[in-house]
Amino acid sequence: MPAASIQVSETPLVLYTLRRADDALILGHRLSEWCGHAPMLEEDMALANMGLDLLGQARELYSYAAKVEGNGNDEDKFAYLRDVRQYRNLLLVERPNGDFAHTMARQFFYAAFADLYWLAMMASRDPTMAAIAARSEKESAYHLRHCSEWMVRLGDGTDESHRRAQNAIDELWAYTGEMFQSDESERGLIDVGIAVDTSALRPRWLQTVSSVLTEATLTLPNNDWMQQGGRFGRHSEHLGHLLSQLQSMQRTFPGATW
């Protein structure tokens, strides 16, 4: 009999931590889908390496969420035994890989945010979150540099690479707004200094994004309508397919270990 989904009691801090853990896990999984398929060997290693960093971040965050929740859940149960509606990640990170330009643009938008986010979270009043932030900030800064160089290479490359990069930017743009939103439960954590107000990070994010895109001869979309829902478990159809792969082993053979 397939393993049933777990129940999670989403107190504000548990929910907050799970949202960040889910971002890292899902984006890391997307990058791992490139393993063996990247356009060149060096990039195959780069994508897998970035995926590994994100997986490491996800593990720390899930373990902490499990500790705060105190209901006997653990990192594996959170990853393998929650259904799609229980996932709290940004819609951006579940977007399919598409072509290489899509993957890079998605990573660029996220890394430009994660770099600022983790840097700010190093001052969190929650010591565990601050420690995870200190580790993740260094990794995000490196990812951002790598992706920025690719945006320039693609945008300022051939007509074909420029066209693909611009397409990717245009298509993913509407998924960037969610990174800067917060709800009632997060505002409580912001007020006590555990979480940071991400809306305050947007001007600097926009500055980084526009300076790189300008150098890449790409155009920033001027459409302000933003898609949302991931933080509340309202996902695109893509996440379910991703989870069916990620979870198939544990769902089929509950409790299987290496």
Partner: protein, 167 residues
């Protein structure tokens, strides 16, 4: 008769010495002490506690390092140590010892360049070739054979080499 404090201090020293011999499974010329991954060894209620810090969040070598520490202590007759991970302060290549840097270079891996601006978006970095010493080198890939390394090439001796990323 040895006092408890003296006994604990001796035990701690033996445990540290044993743990400090454990090598990084992916860079076997470096010990975890050289790397700065070994943060602390203490004795609490007669039990040895070892604190290590990961170089990268997803570094797969960490699990193996934990097992190696347990084995090294067991060989010293120290049973059931607690090995735990500390995240703060976050590991940095600044903790790599001078000896460690020399060993890396001798092994053919360029040590991290101190003070290279990792926050610079498009930073220029000069990494001397660990084989011939030439500074006429170029970056091939920002990500190398492990999380902690990038791939470079020397334009003088034409050899590719690993560079331990500044972090």
């Amino acid at each position: 008769m040895v006092s408890v404090a003296q006994h604990d201090a001796d035990l701690r020293q033996r445990a540290w010495d044993a743990a400090a011999q454990v090598v990084d499974p992916e860079i076997p010329v470096l010990t975890i002490a050289d790397l700065g991954v070994l943060r602390d060894v203490r004795v609490k209620d007669g039990c040895v506690e070892v604190a290590i810090t990961p170089t990268y969040s997803g570094c797969p070598a960490m699990n193996m390092i934990v097992v190696e520490i347990e084995l090294a202590l067991a060989r010293e007759g120290i049973a059931h140590p607690k090995v735990h991970t500390v995240l703060s302060p976050a590991w940095t290549t600044d903790w790599l010892s001078e000896d460690g840097r020399r060993k890396l270079k001798d092994y053919g891996i360029a040590p991290p360049q101190a003070g290279s601006g990792r926050r610079a978006l498009f930073g220029e970095l000069t990494v001397p070739c660990p084989q011939c010493g030439s500074t006429d080198t170029e970056l091939l890939s920002e990500f190398g054979s492990t999380s902690c390394k990038a791939l470079w090439r020397c334009k003088s001796c034409r050899e590719p080499f690993d560079y331990f990323k500044c972090h």
